[in-house]
């Protein structure tokens, strides 16, 4: 049994909450007391049917306003997989919250209303999926019950979306006709959609191969913490604690520490005090090296092949997440994995229209949820990879030093 993290984004009325409710309900992940609470809340509704959407909105303000504001995480499992759902808002106003939910996702479900086809929101969500490099995309064409389960409607939307997918270079795209409300093709196949011979949504979620999305060729180990027991019997013990974010490390491997460039060999690899010969992403381990060299939190231990870039100037796609505008020339802290350095946003080249992908070269005001192409210079050399090639070492956040708030997300190019 492995783990799949997926995100569903959507706003009011497009059936996102109903879809999640349906997945949980039909996979029997909702328990009696939760169902009772649901029935109590649904009582005001005219048709008396249980409102599955009420399962997901967790905050008082969300229930009152009937909207999703922030990401909620939901969990369910089948005998094949454990699933983590990031249930995110779809409205443009909450793009930063959607990006929070999308950043860790293996897969995104993009909901399309069968009556309306590919609309602005569909494009925006697809652009975000492409920016964040989400490896798998499922286009769920929902509310098929409202278009008489028409195969033509479905086919036309598939043709339309394929154009979007091509422009955005989305790799693994699957299409599904569903009705979240009626439960068609979510967990079970139904008579209404018998012309569709593909998998149901749950079957698809169970089958998607995610293990091969983990990079095992580019070894990256950011040091988080140095373990020094300083006891008599472990007087000289220095263990570098961290999580292997990509690649494989073996006992005896020659390594390079970045940005210093110092070299050594792996003396031992430990997990919970137990020595192992070899470890790989995404394991958390402790490395001991042959030589006593200067290494501290924020350093990156790599191998002599497939090395990252080490430089001070970064080209980034930057999603601005603060209410105060981004001003070129301002200084921020830049954090990538365990390393934090001072940085300056030097130049803003263009603003990306998240609905059309058009580049807008008038950049005098960059506000909340804007996505721009920018140049950042860091105070010291930074080891990094291109986000497209190696996501785990190509995403950085910007922190406002005066408010300490996370104000930007950078996808390094």
């Amino acid at each position: 049994m492995d783990l799949l993290r997926f995100i569903t984004a959507g706003s009011v009325d497009d059936g996102k909450s109903t879809l999640i409710g349906r997945l949980l309900y039909d996979s029997k992940s909702i328990l009696i007391d939760q169902l009772e609470a649901l029935e109590k809340q649904s009582r005001n509704k005219e048709d008396g049917e249980i409102d599955l959407a009420l399962l997901t909105d967790g905050l008082r303000a969300e229930r009152e306003q009937g909207i999703t504001i922030d990401v909620a995480y939901k969990y369910f499992s089948t005998p094949k997989r454990k699933f983590i759902i990031a249930d995110a808002p779809g409205h443009i106003q909450y793009t930063r919250n959607m990006i929070t939910g999308a950043s860790n996702a293996n897969l995104i479900i993009i909901l399309v209303d069968a009556r309306h086809g590919v609309v602005e929101q569909t494009r925006r969500h697809s652009i975000i999926a492409s920016l964040l490099n989400i490896p798998h995309v499922v286009v769920a064409i929902n509310k098929m019950d409202l278009v008489d389960y028409s195969q033509d409607v479905f086919n036309n939307i598939v043709i339309d979306y394929a154009k979007v997918a091509k422009t955005l270079d989305l790799k693994d795209v699957s299409y599904l006709p569903i009705s979240a409300l009626k439960g068609d093709n979510i967990v079970d196949k139904t008579e209404s959609l018998k012309w569709f011979d593909g998998d149901t949504l749950l079957e698809l979620l169970e089958k998607v191969e995610v293990a091969k999305d983990i990079n095992l060729t580019h070894a990256r180990f950011p040091v988080q913490y140095v373990i020094r027991p300083q006891t008599e019997e472990l007087h000289d013990y220095r263990g570098y604690a961290g999580k292997i974010i990509s690649g494989i490390y073996k006992k005896g491997d020659e390594i390079i520490v970045l940005p210093s460039g110092l070299t050594s060999k792996i003396k031992s690899i430990e997990i919970g005090g137990r020595e192992i010969e070899e470890a790989s992403a995404p394991q958390s381990v402790v490395l001991q090296l042959e030589d006593d060299i200067d290494i501290s939190r924020g350093d990156l231990i790599v191998q002599n092949i497939n090395k990252p870039n080490v430089q001070q100037d970064l080209q980034v796609l930057l999603c601005w997440m603060d209410n105060k505008p981004l001003i070129a020339g301002n200084k921020y802290l830049l954090q990538i994995n365990s390393r934090t350095v001072k940085s300056i946003v030097k130049e803003i080249e263009y603003k990306l229209d998240v609905n059309t992908l058009e580049k807008n070269y008038s950049t005098n005001s960059v506000g909340l949820n804007d996505i721009v192409k920018a140049t950042i210079r860091t105070a010291s050399a930074l080891p990094f990879d291109s986000y497209k090639d190696l996501q785990v070492n190509g995403g950085a956040i910007l922190i406002d030093e005066t408010s300490n708030v996370t104000v930007g997300a950078c996808m390094i190019q």
């Binding site: 049994m1 492995d2 783990l3 328990l31 009696i32 007391d33 939760q34 609470a37 809340q41 967790g58 905050l59 008082r60 303000a61 504001i69 922030d70 990401v71 909620a72 939901k74 969990y75 454990k82 983590i84 919250n97 929070t100 950043s103 860790n104 293990a211 091969k212 983990i214 988080q224 913490y225 373990i227 020094r228 027991p229 013990y237 604690a241 961290g242 999580k243 974010i245 494989i248 997990i271 919970g272 005090g273 995404p282 394991q283 958390s284 997440m321 802290l333 954090q335 994995n337 365990s338 996501q391 785990v392 995403g395 950085a396 956040i397 922190i399 300490n404 708030v405 996370t406 997300a409």
Partner: protein, 302 residues
């Protein structure tokens, strides 16, 4: 085990260890909030994996309401002793005395809300800048929305509308003076994940998690242990039942479930088959309102 297919418990474990090490790397004075319940016991086990052969970079902190199960307290002391780590205990009883707080009233007078006062005082006393807690997102709707690094203001309050974006596995622990961070390494674990992990790792638990005989009363369908902390009235019938606890909180706000499960395998079987959620079955305090947990968190509850 093939490298390509890390078992999901290994992935959850690695994520939790990563989060704990981020706390250790980013903060000057962290603490691990320890209650003696299975979730915080799991945290201690994960901390051993994260930091051994070194010492923990934080003490264990227990906010003792005075209404705890004796079995959980004994377990707490014995665990701290056996791993040789520092344990700090602060008592709600003392806060009530020094601050002249009012004791809660009613049949199941719970000190759950008063705990927050003692927690905030303890944070101030030791200048803790981060507290690691064992909250899980599957427990409750408000928790499902909380970040892994959750920033609290100087009153310990959570503002759900002003949460920092939290991307990838990058945690921003920068705070202003007086603020602190609650860090939740097992956010993505479910109740069943915890039990499966306890079984796999062979983690020892307090005896009340396993089936035993206990005097209880039945109250609105829930079984509440007879103790000096609840008020019995004439209508209450004391019954001796075969029970176990699914969660361990205060004796006043945790209900027992009828069970003959005396080992982990039987417990996992029961939980897999159960039709009621963990909080719904065993927490008397969450039934008050739809937003009970959200309100408590806004007030500084962990």
């Amino acid at each position: 085990m093939s490298n390509q297919q890390l078992y999901y418990l290994d992935q959850l474990e690695s994520e939790a260890i990563h989060i704990m090490r981020e706390v250790a790397g980013q903060f000057e004075r962290p603490a691990l909030l320890f209650s003696g319940g299975k979730d915080s016991i799991t945290l201690v086990h994960l901390a051993l994996k994260a930091f051994r052969p070194g010492k923990f970079p934080f003490p264990l902190v227990h906010i003792d309401t005075g209404h705890n199960f004796q079995e959980a307290l004994d377990y707490r002391d014995q665990l701290a002793n056996s791993i040789g780590e520092k344990l700090i205990v602060r008592k709600v009883e003392d806060t009530i005395k020094t601050k002249n707080l009012s004791e809660p009233k009613g049949k199941f007078a719970s000190r759950n809300a008063l705990q927050t006062f003692t927690l905030l005082d303890t944070i101030e006393e030791f200048k803790f800048d981060a507290c690691i807690g064992g909250a899980r997102r599957d427990e409750e709707k408000a928790r499902a929305k909380e970040r892994i690094f959750s920033v609290r203001d100087e009153f310990g309050q959570w503002d759900p509308k002003l949460q920092r974006p939290e991307l990838w596995n990058t945690y921003n622990g920068k705070i202003n003076k007086g603020e602190n961070v609650r860090a939740f390494p097992i956010s993505n674990w479910t109740e069943l994940d915890i039990w499966n992990y306890i079984r796999r790792e062979n983690i020892d638990l307090p005896s009340i998690y396993f089936s035993h005989k206990r005097d209880v009363i039945e109250h609105e369908g829930q079984l509440v242990a007879v103790s000096p902390f609840i008020k019995l009235d004439e209508a209450d019938k004391i019954i001796n039942k075969q029970v176990r606890y699914r969660t361990v909180g205060d004796m006043t706000c945790t209900a027992a479930v009828e069970s003959t499960a005396s080992n982990i395998n039987d417990i996992i079987k029961e939980i897999t088959a159960t039709k009621t959620s963990e909080r719904g079955e065993t927490r008397i305090d969450d039934r008050v309102s739809e937003a009970a947990m959200e309100d408590r968190k806004k007030n500084g509850y962990f």
